[in-house]
């Protein structure tokens, strides 16, 4: 019997079927400087070129056997399509992720915005779809292709001042709820476009709603209803990712309807596993910087083993993998994941 492909392994996991071992993949950015070197690309140039984005995204699979390909590499796609201006830091040699330069909402009175009727063809949404198509045509039969969208609260924090959003979510939750509802509709439109392009799984990144910032009560009352709305509309495999403190909202995260939940290194996985039971998919939670980039290969192996022993369903980073990761650390991570047997 031939060995199953990384794609089959990931899709079986989402389908709740037995796999030979947990896959080692991610729902977030994982391009490496090794991959950039292979093609001679500059990070800042990747974001607006489908060919370069697809080459760079696939390179972590091609070089190291990482078991997925994920695009894009930044968090500004939806905000840009809604009308924000972004900065890709084209003038810098150093790697920086694009950020929002100009917001859409500047005062409380401007919160009543409308979704542009042509949202699905605005900004870089067509470019991301094209990139997914290129990757699918290249290696889509062997490896799962993932993409991501922001959660409504995190997106709200991009199109308006986070300071105002946080205070209003306490002072005027109805007003914030209305905005989140509208943004959920926008997110559903974008995610459905990515589904159409062939994404095998979509991660919803709602890091703005971490318990480091918001109380679990506000998460449950104000944000969870809109996450439920989004996951109810999506047909493909879905993951809900929240970083920072998440132990007190893990059960709510499962209730959102996402097929899997993803947490970072601040989550106590053993405790979360106990709370959510054995039937839910739980992805995480190695530290992609302090372990994968600046740790030793031995530290990487120890961490991966601990994640698996504590009960993750897949070896998966707590956030985007920072590009300067040393090759020997990715190799150690892949090797440890491959060796692991429950």
């Amino acid at each position: 019997m031939s060995e199953i492909t990384p794609k089959e392994r990931v899709l079986k996991l989402f389908a709740g079927e037995e796999t030979d071992r947990p896959p080692c993949f991610s729902g977030m950015g994982n391009v490496t400087t090794e991959g950039l070197k292979k093609y001679g690309y500059k990070f800042a140039a990747l974001h607006s070129n489908a060919k370069m984005m697809s080459d760079a995204a696939a390179s972590t699979y091609k070089l190291f056997g990482f078991e997925c390909v994920v695009v894009p590499f930044d968090l500004c796609v939806e905000a840009e399509a809604l009308g924000c201006e972004i900065n890709v830091y084209a003038h810098l040699e150093d790697i920086l992720y694009p950020t929002i330069k100009k917001k859409l909402i500047h005062t409380e009175d401007e919160m009543d915005i409308r979704i542009p009727s042509d949202l699905s063809v605005r900004g870089r949404i067509p470019l991301i779809k094209e990139t997914i198509g290129l990757i699918k045509a290249d290696i889509g039969n062997k490896v799962a292709v993932g993409t991501y969208v922001l959660g409504p609260f995190t997106l709200a924090g991009q199109i308006m001042e986070l300071n105002d959003l946080l205070k209003l979510s306490f002072k005027k939750p109805d007003k914030v709820g209305k905005l989140l509802d509208m943004l959920s509709d926008a997110i559903i439109i974008v995610a459905k476009e990515f589904e159409k392009a062939g994404a095998d799984y979509i991660t919803v990144r709602e890091m703005g709603a971490t318990s480091d910032v918001l109380s679990p009560r506000v998460f449950k009352n104000l944000i969870l209803p809109y996450l439920k709305k989004i996951f109810a509309e999506l047909k493909t495999n879905t993951v809900l990712h929240i970083c920072g403190k998440t132990n007190d909202i893990a059960v709510s995260m499962v209730e959102s309807g996402a097929r899997a939940i993803s947490v970072d290194q601040k989550n106590d996985i053993a405790e979360t596993r106990k709370k959510i039971g054995n039937d839910s998919l739980l992805f995480g939670n190695y530290d992609p910087y302090n372990v994968l980039v600046s740790g030793t290969p031995e530290k990487v192996r120890e961490t991966i083993r601990k994640c698996l022993d504590d009960g993750v369903s897949a070896v998966w980073p707590g956030c985007d993998i920072w590009p300067t990761v040393p090759p020997e650390n990715i190799i150690a991570m892949m090797d440890e994941a491959k060796k692991y047997r429950r």
């Binding site: 920086l96 992720y97 300071n163 205070k167 306490f170 920072g244 956030c319 985007d320």
Partner: protein
């Protein structure tokens, strides 16, 4: 009611206004403090800051989260704006000016603003560079203002690495400048490795650190006054 009793009453009112994020009461109590002839410093430190200390405790106990923290800060500023013009300059023998900002690539500034607030409270001159600040700008501004302290903030691992370069450049140009770094991904280990003088783990710790720093300044002042009195 004795003057001392009235003083205590106003200080408690200021403290509670901050804890209950009540801007109106904070303004009202600040005016009352001045009318009664309270020292502005007394009202700031034993009223407003004392309230903020309790807010820090509530934050740590996870009774308060960032939205509450921001509203408490608004209440503190509402009082501070009224009291500040009446503050007698602290004679501490230090100039007390600070350059502060969030490093390039990072647009998060809530933690930075909380730290800035405590410098404002302490009567520092604050040169706030804002967020997404090009790395060279920190060095340039420190040289221009001859500030004692530079505070760098980063909320993301990916932008934190930029701090290393700023610390190196600052120390090369001016070995005496003190550098404090903070933000979610920053650790004591990183602060040590990169040669920063101070480190604040998150918004809460930054608040605590800043309060501790202000308290030690207060102590210096009290000692100086005690010497003068003797």
């Amino acid at each position: 009611m004795s003057t001392e009793e009235k003083r205590q009453e106003i200080l408690a009112k200021l403290k509670n206004a901050v804890i209950q994020y009540d801007e109106d009461t904070s303004k009202e109590a600040s005016k009352e403090a001045l009318e009664l002839g309270l020292e502005a410093n007394d009202a700031i430190f034993n009223g407003l800051v004392s309230g903020m200390e309790e807010v820090g405790r509530l934050f740590e106990a996870q009774e308060y989260f960032v939205p509450e923290l921001l509203m408490c800060a608004d209440a503190l500023y509402a009082g501070l704006d009224i009291l500040k013009p009446h503050v007698k300059q602290l004679e501490l023998g230090v100039r007390g000016s600070v350059v502060i900002g969030t490093v390039e690539g990072d647009v998060h500034d809530i933690g930075k603003n909380i730290v800035k607030m405590m410098f404002d409270v302490a009567g520092f001159t604050v040169y706030d560079l804002g967020r997404d600040v090009p790395l060279d700008k920190f060095v340039e501004e420190q040289m221009k203002t001859d500030s004692d302290l530079v505070c760098l903030s980063a909320m993301m691992t990916t932008t934190m690495v930029g701090m290393k370069k700023v610390i190196e450049d600052l120390k090369a140009k001016n070995p005496n400048v003190k550098i404090m770094i903070g933000g979610a991904p920053v650790s004591q280990d990183i602060a040590d490795k990169w040669g920063a003088d101070g480190y604040a783990k998150d918004a809460n710790n930054a608040l605590k650190d800043a309060i501790n720093m202000i308290s030690s300044l207060k102590k210096l002042k009290e000692e100086a006054e005690a010497k003068k009195g003797s």
